[in-house]
């Protein structure tokens, strides 16, 4: 039961390791299937098995560490200040909000590049992201993005003659 609780505690570390091992196994199986001669597996095979051993060892090590920290936690009583923990939770929530804003806006921007075009999508990306991250001024939300996008467009499209993505707009 202690081991199961330790596994529960180390579940995210173990999940990351299993994801790495899962991809490596898929890759190894794919190369193994296409290899009529051992030549394509010369490096992949030993590397895969080293990775396999290291992942297994690391999973065991993570669970052992989780178990040890559980034992230490039970022996020393923790008295967390309630106010401090509320502040910590609020800070964490703000961080999640910012991370989600950044991730989603960036994904939308990459999709919009081909759809709207470089200039308009880049301007929208910069102004919306600065706004979502907390900037509230015309200078930071409108003028700076316009200047930066203008600079990029002139330097890349006109001077370096790169063909930037084009869409409905420019």
């Amino acid at each position: 039961m202690v081991w199961l609780r330790a596994l529960e505690k180390a579940k995210y570390d173990v999940l990351v390791l299993l994801a790495i091992l899962g991809y490596a196994t898929y890759y190894y199986a794919e190369v193994y299937a296409i290899s009529k001669t051992p030549i394509n597996l010369l490096l992949v095979e030993p590397v895969y098995w080293i990775l396999f051993i290291c992942v297994v060892a690391l999973i065991v090590s993570n669970i052992r560490q989780a178990r040890q920290s559980m034992t230490e936690q039970t022996s020393s009583a923790t008295t967390d200040n309630e106010q401090a923990s509320i502040e910590k939770a609020l800070a964490r929530r703000a961080l999640y909000r910012h991370s989600a804003s950044f991730g989603i806006t960036t994904l939308l921007y990459v999709v919009a590049l081909d759809w709207l075009g470089f200039v308009s999508s880049s301007f929208l990306y910069l102004s919306s992201l600065t706004f979502l991250l907390g900037a509230r001024s015309i200078w930071l939300n409108l003028i700076l993005p316009a200047l930066v996008v203008g600079f990029l467009y002139v330097s890349m499209s006109i001077f370096l003659r790169f063909s930037l993505p084009e869409g409905w707009l420019i």
Partner: protein
Amino acid sequence: MSELSSLWAGIGLLSDWQVILMMILGLLFGIITGAIPGFSTPLAISVMLPVTFGMESLQAIVFLTCIYAGGNFGSSISAILINIPGSPQAIVTGLDGYPMTRQGRGSEALGVAVSASAVGNLIGAIFLILILPLLVQFALSFGPPELFLVGVIGLTIIASLHKSFLKAAVAGMFGVLIGTIGMTDTGAMRGTWGFYELLDGIPLIPALIGLIGFSELFMMLQRTYVAGDGAADMGTTQTQSLRQLLTGFVKTFRHPISLLRASTIGVLIGGLPGAGATVASVVSYNEGRRYSKNSANFGKGEPEGVINSEAANNASEGGALALLLSLGIPGGLATAVLIGGFMLQGLVPGPRLFMDNPALMYGVMSAQVFASFMLLFFGLVVSFYAAKIIQVPTMVLIPLIALFSIVGTYAVKLLMFDVYIMLVFAVIGIILRKFDYPLIAVILGLILGPILDSQLMRTYQGSGGLSVSIFTERPLSLLLIGILLLSLIPLFVRLAREYTKRKQHVVPN
């Protein structure tokens, strides 16, 4: 004679005003970004990689190596002023630099750092010019088995990259595996998922920008300023007088022995795979303290401490570049990213690069000498003003860097596919950072994986199979096996120590 004529030809290439302009821009960019905590030198180089695409080879490489030189110095600015090193190599600089700032001598410490960095960089560059031709001659006698072994030696760096050997090994082996994606020499396609863009393997530059640059932006979200709360204190230190800066600048030259010793240590350690600027500065600082008359003041604001750290971490660049240019092995993350810059120009670091383009290579090396003198001037100027950049809030900095990264990645091949790859690697980078895996191990694997794979295949094809005798019958291979075993000794010692420590920890319980 031909070496001398190549050297002159290389120096002649530097007379082009565009090359000089690129040197100045590279130094300035390196120093300024180096001063921003979290904006490490590899990140600065990776952000600028796509910009070099349209440049001529010499301009591009000189630009990137000058960012490297500038970044090595720039990271000391924030270490001295707010005790937050811009990059790990400046940690030791802060030990004496920050106490000097607290004593009201911040500008003096910056002046010491500028001159010590420039001298260290100069000694490293001279070493590079003198030793590289010899190293290349040696490396040219390498066949596929030797090149494979060199790759394996390069991989042993991974062991020293993290406190947990297992995490470093997992990250490194994962990197090697994804480094082998693409079409093999035999025409087989591995792990491409049907994307023809992956036939040449994972595109290195988008992967680097995603892993290092973009994932770092997510970490920056946790801070209001890049420099954290310390940014608020910058205003007062910026008003330090120019006179103090010049006093410190001159003071460095009153310690010639320390300068020479630190630079030599830096060059030698910089040339060791995996050791890098941070180890060089730590070793140099310890040696400096051992031999200094003022050893009791080390850690309390002793300028000699700053000299020992800065001269060594800047000189290490010469050693690291020698390793990269002669054998194609990146000694650290910055030189790993530099490989991307060479590849963008169609150049592959290694002995052939030097044989095929001697004038270009001497041009790159000579540029480092000139960059050292430029660093003296621009270092002083930027030291005076750089602090303002640290005060730029992340809510402005993050969108700008993100936009430049995306546009830069696209600009390399004008492919949106590269942008998607960059984002995929950004996600991998964020996860690996979050769970404390060393990103450089993945990158080393990504770079060394294709080399190991192709050299092993050639060894196999050349000898009609694989056996230990292929490696043991060749004297050079035997030598490399010896070096490999030697480089593994510290790993075994470390593992044994960890095991003993764990045993001791368990027994009392």
